[in-house]
């Protein structure tokens, strides 16, 4: 499809919530109507369900009904482990059902609008409007406009305040709602934290409240008392004269149920992994089943949101992982299984796990994918064991910065020498490709640090050439630091565009060389991501305006049109630069301060100050740096065995008072 023709057709007259106000179609009517659309769209199997392990329950007999929506196309949404976990958690309840929906691609949207087919679930093909709760998964900000497309296709009012009394609860969770404010207007409720246990409680609470005859508003008050729930309409935001947030406070009439700070919810122990993974017919982005072997990370990289927000570290026992691998093969027939974590090398018994897997499945047609490995020879040995006898493609490392100094700033300590030694080992054992991930725009970064990226890439390539000759290659991927909420860098500005372009030009010039390829993010796209992730409530108008102007599928390079967004900012009298590139002072109220991930603001500020001084913080498995997690979740920790979390025993706590800043 030609993206240009699609874009011009996008803001067609059908693009309003009123398009589907006619009576809801039955599943049969939807199926009949689909036969008029599906023969004429790309990849129709995105829209038909019926996959192995998808769950079909008798709709009329099930009182609690949840639609899970990933607001991007099927092949992206189906690759999301979180969706699968929630699907399994809800469907394992006998009186609940969870069905799926994804955002239809543009050709399908046009077909659905033409025939007034409302967005439906893949399992029973009920209109989304017929569900009790619609739960959106929002892992990244570029999905915001697709939320609006999805609501519109479902025939549901875009804004919470405009929603019909009988509309489903519109809920969101995921990393991109840890600052929920830029999309506060579109959701009735947000869930903060780990949802696998909370989701059933949320669906029950809401549905029961409505079943007893409570109004929408009263039911939201019930829901507000569920831990981890944030009801944005229960809060007022005030601003300082220059536009910064002054305070976010519960409204007086809801202060009895709405907490001043909404804290994330966690599962103290990882529930058993999903093994009834849905097996798609078509190729998806990740063609594999996945097992989360560990949640959280103790390394404390200061740019990394996942490393901060998924604390504490919880490991899944080796036996449980092995049993899950076996079960997954039986239940899915996938040819590849991914063992997921933020830092696989830190999984305590990784060697044992790999040895066992190789012993059991070494002779079968099964690939094991082990991403996020540390840069050391141990990682090379692990991969060698896993890939024995198979074609070797590439090895990925993420040093993120190229000088020892800057790596201390970001708290990712690994020496350049160690990186080169590891690269030598990788190439000499036959892997032809090393992918290196770097970021530019780190606080305190200078041109010399950027120059070092180019030098390091050449050094790595030289090492490879010595081992493998012309076959050796290096793929350098450079992204720009987006200082994310809930990280020590949240106060830092996004680097200015002129500097970024200058730095990218240096890399582009110096990395045009045989055996080296370079890819990078366009600074304008980074600006949009930064503005959206660091924004306040006023951005909701911008998001809606951008959508009205045609923005959708903003995570797709060939679909994103940043100019539409700049127009939307201008129409709303707001400046993306102000949100993205303004350094925030320590005493500023951040738009997301009323959302807590359990890591304290004083800890993050301390980490930011240490960063600016180039001072590292060690692995907190060894020694506790008082990030606040153990205080926040002491009730969850108390009944568990001492080693259940990656946090060291209490005796190793250092006395670093949290409130001294």
């Amino acid at each position: 499809m030609n993206p240009d023709t699609v874009r011009t057709e996008l803001p067609d007259p059908g693009r309003s919530a009123s398009a589907f106000d006619q009576a809801d179609l039955t599943p049969d009517a939807i199926s009949r109507a689909l036969d008029r659309v599906l023969p004429f769209v790309q990849k129709p199997v995105r829209y038909t369900g019926g996959e192995w392990n998808s769950v079909l329950k008798p709709w009329d007999e099930i009182p609690y009904r949840l639609a899970l929506v990933f607001p991007d196309v099927y092949e992206l949404g189906m690759s999301n482990l979180g969706m699968m976990v929630l699907y399994d958690a809800v469907n394992s309840q006998p009186d609940m059902l969870a069905e799926r929906a994804y955002t239809p691609w543009i050709d399908m949207q046009q077909g659905m609008r033409r025939l007034a087919i409302p967005l439906y679930s893949l399992e029973t093909r009920h209109p989304l409007r017929a569900f009790d709760v619609i739960g959106f998964s929002l892992p990244y900000e570029q999905l915001y406009t697709n939320v609006l497309t999805t609501l519109d296709l479902a025939g549901i009012a875009l804004r919470s305040v405009e929603r019909a009394e009988d509309a489903p609860l519109i809920l969101a969770g995921g990393s991109a709602c840890l600052n929920p404010e830029p999309v506060y207007a579109f959701f009735d409720a947000f869930f903060v934290g780990e949802g696998e246990e909370a989701i059933t409680e949320i669906v029950r609470t809401w549905t029961d409240a409505r079943a007893t005859g409570l109004s929408r508003q009263e039911a939201l008050r019930w829901l507000a008392e569920v831990r981890g729930i944030y009801i944005p309409s229960f809060y007022d935001v005030s601003y300082t004269p220059d536009g910064r947030v002054q305070a976010v406070t519960p409204r007086a009439e809801h202060a009895d149920v709405a907490p001043a700070v909404v804290s994330k919810r966690i599962v103290p122990v990882l529930p058993p992994p999903v093994t009834k993974f849905i097996v798609p017919f078509m190729d998806i982005v990740q063609n594999r089943a996945a097992i989360e072997i560990q949640r959280g990370c103790t390394r404390g990289c200061r740019f990394c949101q996942a490393g901060m927000v998924f604390r504490p570290v919880r490991e899944r026992p080796v036996d449980e992982v092995l049993a899950a691998v076996e079960d997954l093969i039986r239940q899915t027939g996938f040819e590849e299984i991914g063992l997921l974590s933020l830092s696989s090398s830190d999984y305590g018994r990784i060697q044992e796990l790999v040895d066992q897997i190789v012993a059991r499945y070494g002779d079968e047609k099964l690939s094991i994918n082990l991403p996020s490995l540390r840069i050391d020879s141990f990682s090379v040995q692990l991969m060698e064991a896993l890939e024995r006898g198979r074609r070797r493609s590439g090895f990925t490392f993420a040093p993120e910065a190229a000088t020892d100094r800057l790596r201390e700033v970001i708290n990712k300590s690994i020496s350049t020498q160690a990186l080169l030694d590891t690269a030598r080992e990788v190439y000499s054992r036959g892997w032809p490709t090393i992918k290196l991930y770097f970021m530019i725009g780190h606080p305190t970064q200078t041109l010399a640090d950027v120059q070092a990226i180019a030098d390091l890439a050449h050094d790595v390539r030289r090492v490879g050439h010595a081992a493998l000759g012309k076959n050796a290659n290096v793929r350098v991927s450079v992204s720009t630091l987006v200082p994310k909420p809930h990280t020590p860098f949240q106060w830092a500005p996004l680097a200015d565009e002129a500097t970024l372009r200058e730095h990218l030009a240096v890399l582009d010039r110096q990395l045009r060389s045989p055996g080296i390829t370079l890819s990078w993010n366009e600074p304008r796209e980074t600006l949009l991501e930064a503005a959206l992730s660091r924004g306040d409530r006023r951005l909701a108008d911008v998001v809606q305006r951008a959508w009205e102007l045609g923005a959708s599928f903003d995570a797709w390079g060939d679909q994103l049109d940043v100019n539409v967004w700049w127009q939307a900012f201008a129409d709303c009298g707001l400046d993306p630069e102000w949100y993205a590139r303004r350094a925030r002072t320590a005493d500023e109220v951040l738009p997301w301060d009323h959302i807590s991930v359990g890591v304290s603001k004083p800890f993050m500020l301390r980490e930011y100050k240490k960063a600016l001084q180039g001072e590292i913080t060690g692995d907190c498995r060894e020694k506790c740096y008082a990030c606040g997690i153990l205080t926040e979740f002491r009730a969850e920790r108390r009944p568990l065995p001492g080693n259940a979390w990656g946090c060291p025993p209490a005796s190793k706590l250092i006395s670093e008072p949290i409130a001294h800043e």
């Binding site: 038909t48 019926g50 996959e51 017919f281 899915t332």
Partner: protein, 221 residues
């Protein structure tokens, strides 16, 4: 075939509406995964990039259902057909139903090479009365030729659709339209497609339901 395997099992199966938009390559992989789930010892080709030994008689076009499709599954161990069917049937998605399994001699030629024709049932949405519709079908049958173009890869290929239609028979009215049965050539040299016939009949984009009812072979032995 000079490669080793223990048994060549011929499976008859049907596919319904819920999988009719699954493309042929995706369906082949669905079978491969189902066979793995069923713990059946599927044979693979030798070499650097082993491929599953799984042969379908004919790709079912996207959007079609199939009432009696055929595939050969090559196994590394011998299975009793009933056990094979029970294991495989329980591991295929709900839209694919196995009907029959039977071991066939290894020296038999491939299903694909023996296919001669296929019979389809076509329902097309139309406001026409039966007499007008029948006249339209008759009009096609009476033609000497029906030149059409078909895209093959990047190039347009000209071909004559008429000789590919072997029999064409009106079946009667159906919900919202009319129904007919057509048998079309389907061999390694030429394959007629019922959606091409619909286009030639003037129903280029009319909603339709097409089921492949039967695959007709030159000789299976």
């Amino acid at each position: 075939m000079n490669e080793t395997y223990a048994q060549r099992m011929r499976v008859t199966f049907a596919t319904d509406d819920s999988v009719k938009y699954v493309g042929h390559l995706d369906m082949a992989r669905t079978w491969e995964r189902a066979i793995r789930r069923a713990r059946l010892p599927l044979a693979y080709t030798q070499g650097f990039n082993p491929q599953p030994r799984l042969q379908f008689a004919a790709a079912l076009p996207v959007g079609f259902t199939g009432r009696s499709e055929l595939a050969d599954v090559f196994l590394n161990e011998e299975y009793e057909p009933g056990h094979f069917l029970a294991a495989l049937g329980g591991a295929l998605p709900r839209g694919v139903r196995t009907l029959q399994a039977q071991p066939v001699p290894r020296e038999w030629p491939s299903l694909q090479s023996q296919l001669g024709a296929a019979r389809y049932r076509v329902e097309v949405e139309t406001g026409e009365m039966p007499a007008e519709f029948v006249a339209r079908l008759d009009g096609f049958v009476d033609r000497a030729d029906a030149p059409r173009q078909r895209r093959r890869g990047k190039e347009q290929v000209r071909y004559d659709l008429r000789p590919l239609v072997l029999t064409l028979m009106y079946s009667g009215p159906c919900e919202g339209g009319q129904c007919f049965e057509v048998t079309m050539r389907s061999d390694p040299g030429a394959t007629g497609r019922p959606d091409e016939l619909l286009a030639e009949l003037g129903y280029e984009s009319a909603p339709r339901r097409i089921e492949r009812e039967e695959l007709l072979f030159v000789a299976l032995a």
